[in-house]
Amino acid sequence: MTKIFKSLSFAVFMALSLPFAAFADSIKIGFNAPLTGFAAADGNSARVGAELAVEQVNSAGGIGGKQLELVIYDDQASPKESAPLAVKLITQDNVAAGISGSYSGATRAAATIYQESNVPYISAYAVHPDITRAGDYVFRTSFVGEVQGRAGAKLIGEMMGHKRVVMITLNNDFGKSLANGFKEKAGDFGIEIVNEYEYSIKDREFGAIVSKAKSDEPGAIYASGYFFTAGPLVRQLRAAGIEVPVIGQEGYDSQKFIEIAGPDAEGVIITTSLDRDSADAVTQDFISGFEAKAGYPSDMVAASAHTAVLVMADALARAADESAAALREAIAGASVMASTGQISFNALGEVQKDVQIQIVKDGNWRHYAVISDTELLAPPAE
């Protein structure tokens, strides 16, 4: 009996240790994203985007023969969760680097810990300016809010030629930084900001703001938000008979926005990172690969997480040795064609890339224009 038990437990032990043996030949990357809670939709899209990138890298032979492996944790978009998870990823999972598929609060908290431990960390789509200021191990592959706000001002004032603008601003770090960038450059493009209204991320009901905005008689509306606030907002603006263009940003960038706003979404224009009509193979592979894997069309957060993983994989392949310092050097020197365009970083670790302008046409996001003005789009450098 004991003999059987012994051989059984040995077999179980072997079975359990097999996966670990396999993992010895892999490179681990930590990934924190909100998989439950209010931001779960974005978190899960980001996760699928990151997983897709890992599959693509691995099927192309991995990194120097080693497979990439994501270690994924749910941070509920909360700093309370992301900070201990960062510690766990670094000390227990021994990840070579980390990627944030999460919002600003959670990403900031984790960034500090990665920096203190000298482990490279890339923020895929969190916008708060302080994230990269955590130190030289922290990078960002998406625009800070200010950059996109400036692009929005150029789009409305110069490219579309509307001069009377009402702003509807989401009062969190995302909306506020967009508004700051927009106001900073509005004057340069001859825009008069008639009024600015603020709302909170919990609001879905904009009756009062819509009534007031209508009485302001703007030429265009610059409204920051996410698809779950912007969808109801656009629908309510149109239902009140406001026909002027609505300009948004990457927070709108999801098929779900079009689903919520329905026919009212037609003609809405946004500044974002993902060009659905890009001729680039990486982008097209991502768009088709994501839809096949996720079962719904790609969005900005997925593309951003996908980009962050590709940038990390590229740096891992180029790093001089296996040290964190060498990996950091490699990321800093990146020049990668990814699903959100050509990526390189400035001294602070902020991305330098073009802003894509997309428009809703026949129920889909389509190419409208691209802004490549490096001076206008210069990210903060310190």
Binding site: N44, Y197, S215
Partner: protein
């Protein structure tokens, strides 16, 4: 003109608050339980409404099914969550209620998906021009009309039917009512059924206004409805109605003129604090 528009927008919002808060105040009046999970039933109503319409059901049919189904779920909540806790301090039931609410949000997310749901072809979106330059969608107008209708019927039920009298007797003194032969258990079931059905109605209405139903859509009503019943003077139905409309209108003006200083919730709770400082017994005094 703008002022009138803002008042009307406030009344629309207030009507939704009223539908949600009524169920809460009914439960509080009867059991002295702060029924936080009520907001989860509101979310459930919205989901049922959207799903039935997307399956080809008419919006009136969908609303009716949502109200009846959620009404029975409300009875279930009472039977399985609150009834076993009735002899415990009310705090225990409150904790159970909060737990139930959080669990419900995650259950909705698992079943219905994190992205939320929308009507494929949203009904009641025709615009009606109330006066020059002021359009309201049929959905918005329906919110107000249906609220008045259902709350009116409820008031009539409470005032003029045997069930209503039994209900009022149970609220003022359950023991005494029981000794006069009122079936208290039945009163409680009816109470939860009606309150939950109204929450479901509010859920479907909000789905029509926003065309978005999310697992977490109950989060704001969960605490705002509590503020409203406190404003109304805990347990007062009339006070709750007045508080709902007042809060809707104050938020409507507040988002425009105070929006850059504080958000909608901050405005609502500032109003609550001011009212409680002046009238600790609530907007309308009981008795």
């Amino acid at each position: 003109m703008l002022a009138i528009e803002l008042v009307i927008q406030g009344i629309v919002q207030g009507a939704i608050y009223a539908l949600i808060a009524l169920g809460l105040v009914l439960v509080y009046g009867l059991l002295r339980i702060l029924h936080v999970a009520h907001a989860a039933l509101y979310t459930l109503g919205a989901y049922i409404g959207v799903i039935i319409v997307n399956q080809g059901g008419h919006i009136i049919f969908a609303t009716a099914v949502a109200m009846v189904a959620v009404g029975f779920v409300g009875i279930g909540v009472y039977r399985f969550a609150y009834k076993p806790l009735l002899d415990k301090p009310p705090l225990i039931a409150l904790i159970a209620s909060i737990g139930l609410f959080i669990a419900a949000e995650e259950i909705y997310r698992i079943i219905f998906g994190a992205y939320g749901m929308s009507f494929a072809q949203p009904p009641l979106q025709q615009q009606i021009e109330l006066f020059k330059g002021f359009h309201l969608s049929t959905a918005r107008i329906s919110v107000v009309i249906l609220s008045i209708l259902f709350i009116g019927v409820l008031g009539w039920l409470a005032a003029s039917t045997r069930t209503g009298i039994a209900w009022r007797a149970t609220v003022s003194d359950a023991g005494m009512a029981a000794s006069f032969g009122v079936n208290i258990e039945k009163v409680r079931y009816i109470n939860f059924f009606i309150g939950s059905a109204l929450a479901a109605l509010a859920g479907v209405m909000v789905a029509l206004l926003n065309n978005l139903v999310e697992p977490t859509m109950g989060a704001v009503p969960a605490y705002k409805a509590l503020a409203i019943i406190v404003l109304g003077g805990l347990g007062s139905v009339r006070g709750t109605l007045v508080a709902s409309i007042a809060l809707g209108i104050i938020e409507s003006f507040g988002t425009i003129y105070l929006g850059h200083v504080m958000d909608r919730d901050a405005i609502a709770f500032t109003f609550l604090i001011i009212v409680l400082m002046i009238r600790p017994q609530g907007l309308l005094t009981r008795r």
